[in-house]
């Protein structure tokens, strides 16, 4: 059998170009599969380990104020394994940085095991001495270039407080550091986490002996929904503002989403490569069998049986599968390590090992072999039909007949000879045509869907930041302001316009369906902080009733006209029934809208606002106005629209890199398929092409004959590929849909044109590589022998 093995190696060597191009596709598929899945596992296991080691909470309860003794009561609840109480407050900083916001969280004065523990990366935990020691979350620390021993100055109730940095920490609670789910991308300069001593926090926030947040670990086997309900009741008298579980926790859900994304990418894309590899293997093997008819006849005449001959030809695809798996797996392992590293730069999981998973090679190799052998078997089963006596005879020439296209005589008559040859060739080798099409279809679909995702993102951000919200600065107040206080801000120099807002958290329920969401009250006809319907038209707020984003309405199973119940997290408020007056579009976050008067009726707050958006005379005054606002004690945070937009775009740049890699992979795939199958096309028609040369056709004219066929198939493939990409794109976007982000898959004609042009370019590249094959057709050699 070794002799037959040598025969295979030599045969493959002769079709080197084809062999290598198939191998590249197999390698890409395997490398993508192992790499993405390794990254997924590294990050998933890394986060699980991290959560376990540092006791990531199962449930978080936020409330206005409760005495510390409540912890004892909570600990006595049957389902609680462990609980930790703390004070959590958001404050502005006067240094470092330009008006950053920090979330201050209190920790025990003396280190002990708590829920949501911290990892000390450098420096140390609080010492017994000074009260004003603090620990700073690593990302914020790095973003501001802080050093241990530096001072940080938060502003608490109008007073600047000096905190001394004694250590740098990370927490499982803040893998993804977002202020709230209205913020899409972390901005470590603008928002960070600072930990201070519990005793110190209680004194500066006026919380002596009290807490406003409890984190729980619950016992195994307890239903967390029941726990959430029960604890809400238990702590009702303290004004519960929110109860969330780990799934709803912002950092954890963002991390989860990213990791799940990797999993689906790791599953879907490699399959495309395997399918394409299978297609080319099928074509190549069919051709090899075709050409080796005589040899097969000889082998059979020598006494090899069908199975032995089949086995021999299966070794070709087996060989490709094995070699591809090995190289791909090795490449994939390194890809996994590199990608884990890249992703973890983003997450900073301290326990994410960059492990390699040799066992991932097994499913990858099995998948590869499955596709390779399936393709191999289907092409090689032809050997059963070859009998020795027949094989030695001359093969009957290909039957020429008219193709369907010729029936349309008006068009057919106008075609030049080269187009007639091309079209007949396409129809007579339908199988081969379809195979090139498959490559082009997938390639153009991938290109289209990646470009479409980029465009959708840009479009949504433009909408969000330029059309829907066209304010310059958004201000959050530390309390509800009355009209008088708001007027002071309205009258600041350079403020051209102001719109008050109310932003609170509510629970919306419809029957048994419940959802904790944000609630925003706007003026009736907003000019700056606006909402749009699902078609993108700006809508006014209804006099009575609320507007819900499409997704929330879906989750509550509610439609326009339905009545739902709203309950504010503020203590002592009752459920109010309210009608849904409309459905709106929302890209980021989930919240319900009403107008301010309606909100007052619903929640009885009086005519006040706890936030506002302003427009300036000119955006050049933005810094000046921000400065002034930050000096006001009632202002808790100030965000300029432009800064946020810029920071989102910067953050997205890294994610875009993966998109461009996908486009490159699609290019490689298209070039490999076109190259491969055209090589066969040229080979099979050598005689015909040589005849044309003899007749006095120039290389350029012959080239056209082959290449135009590819272009025609490419155009056909694009016509199917682009709609397929549209379909895949909307499915993928739906998969990535979450509470914090929901972007529709929106594509313009520009994307269609670019995707089509790129695909044609791929074919052009493949054609150029093939140029030499056409130049080197030897008239004399080819015409001499009649194989």
């Amino acid at each position: 059998m070794l002799i037959l093995f040598n025969k295979m190696i030599r045969d493959l060597k002769r079709s080197k170009g084809q062999f290598i191009s198939i191998l590249i596709i197999v390698i890409l598929g395997v490398a993508l599969y192992t790499g993405m899945n390794a990254t997924f596992r590294n990050l998933f296991e890394g986060s699980e380990k991290y959560y376990k080691e540092y006791r990531m909470g199962d449930i978080w309860i936020e409330f206005y104020k409760a005495p510390e003794s409540v912890i004892r009561r909570v600990n006595n609840l049957s389902y609680v394994k462990m609980s930790t109480g703390r004070v959590v407050k958001e404050v502005k900083l006067s240094s470092p940085g330009e008006h950053a916001t920090a979330r201050i969280i209190t920790l025990p004065d003396v280190k002990r095991d708590i829920v949501n523990d911290i990892v000390i990366k450098s420096g140390q935990y609080f010492s017994q001495g000074d009260n004003n020691q603090c620990l700073v979350e690593e990302e914020f620390f790095m973003a501001h270039g802080l050093k241990v021993g530096d001072m940080i100055s938060p502003i608490v109730n109008g007073n600047e407080i000096k905190l001394k940095v004694v250590g740098v920490v990370k927490s499982p609670e803040y893998v993804y550091i977002l202020k709230d789910n209205g913020q899409m991308m972390p901005d470590h300069k603008k928002f960070g986490i600072i930990y201070i001593k519990n005793s110190f926090g209680q004194s500066i926030f006026d919380y002596s002996g009290s807490l406003n947040s409890i984190s729980l670990l619950i016992k195994d086997g307890v239903d967390k929904e029941d726990v959430k309900e029960d604890i809400k009741k238990e702590l009702r008298s303290y004004g519960v503002t929110g109860v969330i579980d780990r799934q709803g926790q912002l950092s954890s859900s963002m991390l989860n989403q990213e990791i799940e994304g990797l999993k689906s990418v790791g599953g879907a894309f490699p399959i495309i490569f395997f399918i394409v590899a299978a297609v080319i293997i099928y074509i190549m093997m069919s051709r090899i069998i075709e050409n080796q008819r005589t040899q097969i006849g000889v082998l059979k005449a020598l006494g090899y049986n069908d199975i032995q001959v089949l086995a021999h030809y299966l070794t070709y695809s087996l060989f490709i599968g094995v070699v591809g798996s090995i190289i791909g797996a090795v490449a994939g392992m390194y890809l996994g390590v590199a990608y884990t590293g890249l992703m973890n730069k983003h997450f900073g999981l301290p326990s994410a090992d960059m492990k390699m998973y040799p066992e991932l090679v097994i499913p990858a190799a099995l998948l590869t072999l499955l596709f390779c052998l399936l393709a191999g078997y289907n092409s090689c089963k032809l050997v059963f039909r070859i009998t020795p006596s027949e094989a030695m005879k001359q093969k009957a020439p290909k039957i020429g007949k008219r193709v369907i296209a010729e029936r349309i005589e008006v068009i057919w008559k106008r075609l030049s000879y080269s187009w007639k040859i091309i079209i007949r060739n396409i129809f007579r080798n339908l199988k081969r045509t379809l195979m090139i099409s498959v490559g082009i279809i997938f390639s153009s679909a991938i290109v289209f869907l990646t470009l479409g995702m980029i465009e959708s993102f840009n479009y949504s951000m433009d909408q969000q930041y330029k059309d829907i919200h066209n304010y310059d600065v958004k201000i959050n107040f530390s309390k509800f302001l009355n009209n008088e206080e708001i007027r002071v801000i309205r009258n600041l120099p350079h403020v051209a316009d102001l719109e008050p807002l109310v932003e609170i958290g509510v629970e919306i329920s419809n029957g048994w369906r419940k959802k904790d969401v944000g609630f925003k009250a706007l003026v009736t006809k907003p000019n700056m902080y606006r909402v749009t319907d699902t078609d993108g038209n700006i809508v006014n707020l209804p006099g009575k009733g609320i507007l819900l984003p499409e997704k929330l309405a879906g989750k509550l199973d509610a439609e326009v006209g339905d009545r739902v119940y709203i309950k504010s997290f503020y203590p002592g408020k009752d459920k109010k029934e309210v009608a849904i007056k409309g459905i709106v579009a929302q890209y980021m976050g989930v919240c319900a809208y009403s107008n301010i008067e309606s909100m007052n009726y619903l929640l009885g707050e009086g005519s006040v606002a706890n936030a506002a958006v302003i427009k300036l005379d000119s955006s050049s005054f933005a810094e000046q106005v921000k400065e002034k606002l930050n000096e006001m004690p009632v202002v808790s945070s100030v965000q300029s629209q432009a800064d946020e937009f810029k920071s989102i775009q910067n953050q997205m740049a890294t994610s875009m890199a993966f998109m461009y890699i996908l486009i490159v992979l699609a290019a490689v795939m298209a070039v490999a398929v076109v190259y491969n199958i055209t090589t066969i096309n040229i080979f099979e028609r050598q005689r015909e092409l040589a005849t044309l040369k003899v007749l006095g056709f120039f290389n350029g004219e012959i080239k056209k004959l082959i290449f135009d066929e590819n272009y025609l198939i490419t155009v056909f493939g694009i016509m199917i590929g682009l709609p397929l990409g549209q379909l895949m794109g909307s499915i993928i976007m739906k998969m990535f849909d979450s509470d914090s982000l929901s972007i529709p898959f929106i594509t313009s004609s520009k994307t269609y044109i670019i995707a089509a042009a790129l695909t044609v370019l791929f074919t052009f590249l493949a054609n150029n590589i093939l140029m030499n094959k056409i130049k080197s057709i030897d008239m004399v050699e080819v015409l001499k022998s009649n194989e």
């Binding site: 007949r424 008239m779 001499k784």
Partner: protein, 235 residues
């Protein structure tokens, strides 16, 4: 008008295969006059096909001169050779080499398309006796019919010369004779110079000039004052 249409002077053709150099043609020289029916006769490996390819502009000699219609094509570029073939040469092959995807008529028209002053494709096909089979594809034609299409395809360009490489090699005796008759008729009627190479010595009887080659060199050139009619030839 008489005169040399082909003038081959001391042509050498070497093929290098790895370290071995093979001389397929070794200092071959001969002339052919306008309008002649020439048979180049020799066993396989004698270099007859190679020299035909060189005359037809499909290949270039390593050394020597090849004068066709008073132009030396020995040093022509690929492009010039293509142009030369387009204008001057009609080829007929042993295995016809028709384009399988084109009908008989289309095969002929295809050649007409690249020619400066082509003849009418349909007329030519009638001339070779295929007026009824214009729309058939090669696979639907017999070997003899395919060779007729090939001859029509060569003639439609209105070429300077017709080069035929074993045109009867793949045909049975009877059909082969009919093809020879067709070639002969064409030569006589259109006074088109025709060079036919074969290993079949019997065919030499119908030629105006017989060039016998052996081991890459000309062994003898014979002028037949009274060539036989192809119908009379027996083998």
């Amino acid at each position: 008008m008489k005169g040399n249409i082909v003038c081959v002077k001391e042509v050498v053709k070497e093929y290098t295969m790895g370290e071995v150099t093979v001389k397929a043609v070794d200092e071959m020289s001969f002339n052919i006059e306008h309008g002649e029916f020439v048979v180049v006769l020799g066993p396989s490996g004698s270099g007859k096909s190679t020299v035909l390819n060189i005359i037809g502009g499909m290949d270039r000699p390593t050394l020597g001169e090849v004068w066709i219609d008073e132009k030396n094509i020995a040093m022509n570029s690929d492009k010039e050779l293509t142009m030369f073939r387009r204008k001057n040469i009609g080829f007929v092959f042993q295995f016809y080499n028709l384009l399988p995807n084109l009908t008989a008529l289309e095969n002929v028209e295809l050649a007409a398309q690249v020619s400066d002053n082509p003849l009418n494709s349909k007329d030519i096909l009638m001339e070779v006796g295929l007026g009824e089979r214009l729309g058939n594809f090669p696979a639907q034609l017999s070997g003899g019919e395919q060779q007729r299409v090939a001859i029509a395809r060569a003639l439609v360009k209105n070429p300077l010369m017709l080069l035929c490489d074993e045109p009867t090699g793949a045909l049975d005796y009877k059909t082969g004779k009919l093809i020879l008759k067709l070639l002969h008729d064409v030569n006589r009627k259109m006074s088109r110079t025709t060079i036919l190479i074969t290993h079949n010595a019997a065919i030499a009887a119908m030629a105006d000039r017989v060039i016998r080659v052996k081991s890459g060199a000309v062994e003898a050139v014979t002028i037949n004052e009274n060539p036989e009619l192809p119908e009379r030839i027996e083998w």
